[in-house]
Symmetry: C2
Subunit: 115 residues, 2 copies
């Protein structure tokens, strides 16, 4: 299936959803959610909502070791959820694009709804 050709508003209307399900889209979709599905990684993202941070400050913010945070940053970076830039001795991480806030926001709505 030519994923590039899909317009978002069409996705929900594919006949019986079968084409969508058999495309690669569910794989990509599951992948992004899988990456968001760990509390250390979510905390990193939440910490980056307000402002960019270096690894040391992220580790402090989420209460995990530098190594653990660094490993998870790599996961987040390869999923294009965060981006990095060097600033002197530090490497400063920030959210990669605005969709992430949307995703987290929707997640929060579901959480709020189920409390």
């Amino acid at each position: 299936m030519p994923v590039e050709k899909l317009r978002l508003e069409e996705l929900f209307q594919l006949q019986s959803g079968q084409q969508l399900i058999q495309s690669e889209i569910p794989i990509f979709l599951a992948e992004i959610f899988r990456v968001l599905g760990d509390s250390t990684r979510i905390k990193i993202i939440l910490a980056l909502l307000s402002e960019e941070k270096c690894v040391y400050h992220l580790a402090d913010a989420v209460g995990m070791s530098q190594s653990a945070v660094s490993h998870q940053l790599r996961v987040l970076k390869s999923a294009r959820l965060v981006k990095a830039r060097r600033e002197g001795k530090n490497i400063v991480y920030s959210l990669d694009d605005g969709h992430i806030e949307g995703l987290v926001g929707q997640g929060l709505e579901h959480v709020a709804h189920n409390i």
Copy 2:
């Protein structure tokens, strides 16, 4: 932290995000994303976007065994993503609330953005 007292629009504005990160919210958030982070479960959800379905039809739609689908339906149900009702010999599953479409929609936007 009194989660129930949080208004959604306040969440992003908590001082430096620290309160949010130290609350139980990241745990809940990661949990919902973790459940969405498997392609079989995402396919099930996509299959239910258009209409409710029984287990047999779901298994067919997602191309997995009845047992595998049943196991995953239990995960989806305990995360309150789907609900079930008996209809004769069958058990018919449907999405539990409207937020799920919002979540999937946001996920699709991210996917579309990164293709």
